[in-house]
Amino acid sequence: MKEINEFKISSMLEEFPELKMSDKTQQKFKRTCDNMQHETKKSKLQYINVWMSAAASVIMFILGYGIADQTNNSNEIISSKEYTRQLLFNNTVQNPSLGDRLASIQYLVSSQTNTNERVKELIYMIKTESNENVKLALIEIISSYSNLIEVQDLLEEQLQNESNPLVLISVINIISELKIKKGMEILKNYQNSNNVDPLVKNHITYLKL
C-alpha cells in the first residue's frame, strides 16, 4: 500500500499541470524585449560614435605632427590640437550619455590652458545642458571663476531663468557667498514673491540675506 502511494505521488508530481500566465504579462515581456533591443542598438551607435571621435582625434594629432615635421611651425601644431579639441567639444555637447558627457567635461576643462576660453566653453555648456546633474557639476566648476564679470552675468541670468530648484539653489549659494550685487537684489525680491518654488524660497529665508 505504502509503495503504491509513494509511486502515485511521485507520478502526480511529474504530471503536475503547467499554469498559464496572463496575456498582459506576456505582452509586457515583448515590450521589454523591444525596449532592450532598442537600447542595444542605441548603445552600439554611441560606441561607434565615441570610437569615431577618438579615431578623428588621433588622425588630427598625427596630422598635426606631420605638418610640424614639414614646416617646423609650432603655431600649426597648436592650431591642429585646437581643432582636435573643438571636435571633442562638439561631440561632448551632443553626447547622449551623461557619464560620457561628465567625463569629457572634466577632460575639456583640464586641457584648456586659456582661462577665458575655458570659461567661454563652460558658459556655453551650462546654457545648452538639459540634465540637472551635469549642470550642477558645470556650475561647481565655473564657481571657481566667479570673480569674472561674464561668470557673474551668467549666474544672474541663471537665477532668473533656471527652473530646476536644485540647480537654482546651487546658483543662489554662489551668489549669496560672493554677495553679487544685482543677484542679491533679485534674491531679496524672490523672498517676497509668490511665484518662486517653495523649496527655493525656504532656502533663501534660511540664508538670512
Partner: protein, 178 residues
Amino acid sequence: MTDEQVIKKVAKGNIGLSMILFKKYNGKVFSFYRYMGLSIEDAEDLTHEVFEKVIRSCGSFNLDKLFKPWLYQIMRSQLVDFRRVNGRTKYVNISEFDFKETVDFEYDEIELSKLNMALLELPNHDRELILLVKFQQLSYAEAATIFGISEGAVKTRVHRIIHKLTDYFKKQYPNERD
C-alpha cells in the same frame, strides 16, 4: 535551434530571439512560483524579472553548459531575493489556490489541490527541490549543481520528501487509501 544556440544569439544582441525561450519556459517558471505559494501577481512579476535577467546576464552564460539549469538557478535566486524583501507575508493562503490557470486540464482537480496543499506544508527548500526534480524534471546531477549538494544527497532528499508527502496524505485523508 537549441536553447544554448538561442542564448548565444541573444548575447550577440539579437534580443528578439529571447521570445523563443520565454514562450518555451514562461509556463514552467510561472508554475514553479505559483506552486511555491506566491500570488498570481507576484509570480507573474517574478517570471518577468527572471527573463529580463536572462537577457541582461546572457553575456556571462557559459556556452559549455546547459541553458535550463542556468535558467532555474536564476529563477531560484529571484525567489530568494523576493523572500528577503517580502518575508513570508506575501504568500497566498493555501485555500485560495486553485487550478483554473492550467493549460491542459486533464487531472483530477481535487487530488491535485490536495497534493498542492501537501506541498505547501513542506519547508521551502524541500518544496523547491521536489518541484525542480519532479515537476521541472531536472536530472539529479543538474539539481545537485543548483543546490550545491551531491547527487546522492539529492536522491536521498527527494526520496525523503516523497515519503513525507505520502505520510501527510495518509494522515489527512485516511479514508482514501486504496
